[in-house]
């Protein structure tokens, strides 16, 4: 940080531009750096933190929140927010369990498709209400958060579905590994790659940033704003549904409270990952790394023997610091960026 400061203050203009460009282009580098510091610092205290089992656990633990963060990023980039993902995840996870209870022999692919379809249906409802009725998504998804959780709870009642009702092939999905990398991690990495490519290189992906930067201008420029926003909600819902299936595979049992409070955890990960809460900037990779960072910090606090009672407070403090830090950096960079832009023009 101090190095950047010094460079920005004293260095000639061209150099400042260069640095600014690097920091802005690779915002994710900062998160990776923080991640390395956390992992490094913890492993000095306890070398087993760097063991392959521990790293695998870190990856699978963060995978589901990271997956949800992908969908949430798409939505937040367009200056909307999806608060219903936790409820969608819960509904889909319970539905998956119920499918296995009633039809024990059903194939894995079908189950995954069913989970994603449930999520997609919920996402379509969110998107349709938000775009057709032009109402704030915060309100709509807060409402569907209640509705979907309520449907889930009245369906599940006090019932709990345990791993004994689930086939081994399904549980394998949560714990299995390929070349030492857990399936959950692989799935999330694959989704991040696909989403990153889509957001960077496809016109519809770029449209999302335009919409988030200035919805009115995007509309006037001929971007089908409603269609794009609708699609992001549908995708976010489908991802949450898919994540519900993985959630059940990972945790092995499900009741009506699955995924409660995930919405805040995911939004936190997205914000830590450098996605602007009012849209227009940020990347899927950053959001996924944000989820990984938050999860790693939580685990490392346990490893270095911080009382588990302190974990939540420290996480909250770090979250506030991360948001403030991000803001300070962008404030420092704003003048440099402005000159860069003007010289280009």
């Amino acid at each position: 940080m101090s190095g950047i400061d010094a460079a920005l203050a004293g260095a000639p203009r061209a150099r400042a531009h260069h640095l600014a460009e690097i920091v802005v282009r690779f915002r994710e580098l900062g998160i990776v750096l923080a991640l390395l510091i956390v992992v490094g610092g913890t492993s000095i205290d306890n070398s087993r933190f760097l063991s392959s089992t521990s790293l695998q656990q870190l990856l699978s633990g963060a995978a589901i929140v990271a997956l949800l963060a992908i969908g949430e990023t798409l939505v937040i980039v367009t200056r909307n927010v999806d608060l219903s993902i936790g409820s969608i995840l819960g509904l889909s996870a319970y539905a998956t369990g119920a499918i296995y209870v009633h039809h024990p022999g059903v194939s894995l692919v079908l189950v995954i498709l069913a989970g994603a379809a449930i999520g997609l249906a919920c996402g379509i409802v969110n998107g349709a209400i938000t775009t057709l009725c032009r109402v704030p998504s915060l309100v709509v998804t807060l409402g569907t958060l209640y509705v979907i959780r309520g449907l889930d709870a009245s369906w599940a009642g006090g019932n709990q579905i345990n791993s004994s009702s689930l086939p081994d092939s399904f549980n394998e999905l949560g714990y299995g590994k390929l070349l030492g990398v857990p399936y959950l991690g692989l799935i999330t990495i694959a989704c991040v790659i696909v989403a990153t490519y889509g957001m960077r290189s496809y016109r519809s992906g770029r449209d999302l940033y335009a919409i988030g930067s200035n919805p009115e201008a995007a509309r006037l420029a001929g971007i089908p704003v409603d269609l794009r926003v609708f699609a992001t909600f549908a995708i976010s819902g489908a991802i949450a549904g898919f994540a519900g299936v993985l959630w059940l595979a990972f945790f092995g049992s499900v009741d009506s409270t699955a995924g409660t409070g995930y919405e805040f955890e995911v939004v936190a990960a997205v914000v830590v990952g450098g996605v602007a809460i009012f849209g227009g900037s940020g990347s899927v990779l950053g959001a996924a790394l944000g989820a990984l960072l938050l999860n790693t910090i939580a685990s490392s606090l346990v490893v270095i023997n911080v009382s588990s009672y302190w974990v939540q407070a420290i996480q909250g403090a770090l979250l506030v610091i991360a948001i403030a830090f991000d803001r300070l950096i962008s404030l420092r960079l704003a003048p440099a960026l402005r000159t860069r832009r003007s010289t280009r023009e």
Partner: protein, 351 residues
Amino acid sequence: MSSETARTAPAAPTLLQRLMRWESALVLLLIGTVVLGDRLSPAFLKSGNFFYVGLNIGEVAIIALPLALIVITGEIDLSVASMLGLSGTILADLTSRGVNVWIAMAITLAFGLLMGLFNGLLVTKVGLPSLAVTIGTLTLYRGIAQIVLPNSSLGGFPESLTNIGVVPIRGTQIPWSIAIYAVLVVGFAVTLHATPVGRAIFAIGSNQEAAYFSGIRVKRIKLGLFVLSGFFCALAGILFTLRFASARYDAGTGLELNAVLIVLLGGISIFGGRGTMLGLVLATCVIAALQSGLTLHLMSPQDQNVVIGGLLVASVILPNASSIYGRARTRIASAGARRASRRVTPSGGPS
């Protein structure tokens, strides 16, 4: 958005137009809920039930008051329930250490001011979006509560105080929290609708820049509102703790959503600049009556969530129903015109 909606010149509102507002709909909704509640259960309109209805909604209703003002300025405070929980644990911790309960309450309220100040400074001085900040402090405050009071509940309050959760004000059926709420509502309504500060709050929500350039101290007012929110959350936390005669670190988890629900159902725009205290109070009554009626009808809290969530979604759709209809008509009409023009000039494209 504005490019598509037809703009009509503002005419003097007729009586009908004046009656066509969200508050009227809420009144109808409230009447409907009460009638429904009476149908569902003979106990609904008993005066004893009124006491329990008030008791259940009291704390959230108090939290919703400052939250409404914050939402009108275009910000949001999601940390309210965590502030409530933390205040309760501090009160219990102090009294268990032998501090006089009244002094402990004063310290708790002061701590509430501090929590609100922290939120407010991050929003106004550092310039962070309140949505992000208060999601952070939601976790932070709840986490501190867990440090103060890990894993157990702590009681030991004098019975004269914990009675406020069981006994109404003498001679009436009014719970103490509702009495406090009633006084506060008057104060908030006067401040919002009849003072320069209230006008400033609306101005900030409508157009922050314009408000700033017309001499309104935007940041100071926002900071003040966040501090106010902290204070009243602490007050609600004290009431909540006394009602259950014990404090837990997870007390009131998720209440932030209920508070936001009441604010939004009250017709207060999430984008700021619009809303009335009347709407807020009516929405509070609707939610309270609905919860009570459905509970007496033996509907599970989960099923109630479906009803309440659906109501919230409906509450944002219905006020826009006419503009949605209008937009659909324009779209159909313009599609028809396009088709017609294509028929006239088969080559297509503008000449």
